[in-house]
Amino acid sequence: MSNRTYLDFAATTPTDPSVLAAMLPYFSEKYGNPSSIHSFGQETRAAIEAARQQVAGLIAAKPEEIVFTSGGTEADNQALEGIAWANEKNGNHIICSAIEHHAVLHCAEFLKKRGFAVTVVPVDQDGLVSPEAVAQAITPKTVLVSVMHANNEIGTVEPIREISEVIGRRTKDEGRKIYFHTDAVQTAGHLPINVAELGVDLLSISAHKLYGPKGIGALYIKKGTRLTPFLHGGGQENNRRASTENVPGIVGFGAAADLAAQTMAEENAKLLPLRDKLIKGLTTLIPDVRLNGHASVRLPNNVNVSVKFIEGESMLLNLDMLGIAASSGSACTSGSLDPSHVLLAIGLPHEIAHGSLRFTLGKQTTEAEIDLVLEKLPPIVDKLRRMSPLYPGGKK
């Protein structure tokens, strides 16, 4: 299966060979428990602290502000629940956007069942959250706002700094702290991040989205922020996350963070024209195709379109038969009967949302692969449209 074309880098990325090489000694050679005082433990302890510096460096944080987690979902859950439980006495209101990842939305729903009030702030047709809408949603009971840095489906990059400023103003007015969390799983390692400039208190990262291994992530916790821990047990991660550390994963995450910091600018310079070529090609070669997400304030690797009159999974299967891997927000691919909540939130009717197709580009992506999609997709769309009762051109 060598001639396959992977355009689903937002789902996951391959672990970079240099990252894997950095990890390998930490399985069978350097296997000490970092909590042990002997030399076996000390060498893995040192490796973890070096990785913590690398990850902190990627977002301009201090190493002690990084807590390693099992991934993005745990980081999001820890942020929401950790703040919620730690601040129960100060308030019981949480705000998040309508296009958050389920790791945030479903966590907020869980908290709702446990007595918290949740306000879901809508987005505009491009998927942008309005800082003013966030400001208006804040009540005297608000303890946390969570808005993602960039959306995983439609690629829209949110105005985190502006949202932080309105939260800061309201914090002053209220005379008490309102925490701000951002899920940066799609941006860390892909866009420059400076936590102080963004003005966030908490930020989630996942290693496997930035050419690191699966099963490891991190939560940035601004110094002085109190969280109720998720896992109870040993004193690892400065008492913020019990459990023996995933040493190979952490080492790999550190290496991936370092690599991303070095290659980000170059990679984006390569991806942007490829992204724009694909968007332009799809929207001009195929009639009745719309771009989902903001046209310019968007991730450099994200293309999301809706192809009218047909359904997403049927396109994915046809592409997969040709070795091209993409994804869709159609119900049929989500394991539920509803299309993506993100596409509905930007105002797409159900049948248009069912016809969405996402291509996410990465390090390995070549212009030839973009050309391949632009060559192969139009006949697939044509074939499926001729089968569709919704297609006006089909009733001959």
């Binding site: 049929c332 159900h350 069912h354």
Partner: protein, 143 residues
């Protein structure tokens, strides 16, 4: 060759669907499903001496929606109205060597598309539709 979650037979009927299209002046036409749930099936039949002599379909939907439509048309072509009415969603799924559990609702739609076309045929010929026929108008849950 990669086939996602589907059997080889589902992929065959999906990639090379049988009886796609429209019948001009059909003796019966039925449409089931809705855009909200993401599946719409339209079935056209031609009937002579109580036998379904021709059948065509159009489907908006996922791979299994297209494959079940295709298989259903094959299973009723050349059959009497009574035989076609005995077609069940399970029979459609079995003829395709099975469907993932979450896709079984597609086979229900295929069964209903056949019934809707026959219902329309009966209305046109006898003035009365299929007794007790009422397709789901809500998005179908797993069966």
């Amino acid at each position: 060759m990669s086939m996602g979650p589907y059997s080889a037979k589902v992929m065959d009927h999906f990639m090379n669907p049988r009886n796609v299209g429209v019948i001009e002046n059909p003796d019966g036409v039925g449409e089931v499903g809705n855009p909200v749930c993401g599946d719409i099936m339209k079935m056209f039949i031609k009937v002579k001496d109580n036998i379904i002599t021709d059948v065509k379909f159009q489907t908006f939907g996922c791979g299994s929606a297209i494959a079940t439509s295709s298989m259903a048309t094959e299973l009723i072509k050349g059959k009497t109205i009574e035989e076609a009415l005995k077609l069940t969603n399970v029979a459609v799924a079995e003829a395709l060597d099975g469907l993932p559990k979450i896709k079984m609702h597609c086979s229900v739609l295929a069964e209903e598309a056949v019934q809707a076309a026959i219902d329309d045929y009966l209305k046109k010929t006898t003035g009365k539709g299929l007794p007790g026929f009422k397709p789901h108008d809500e998005p179908l849950q797993e069966h």
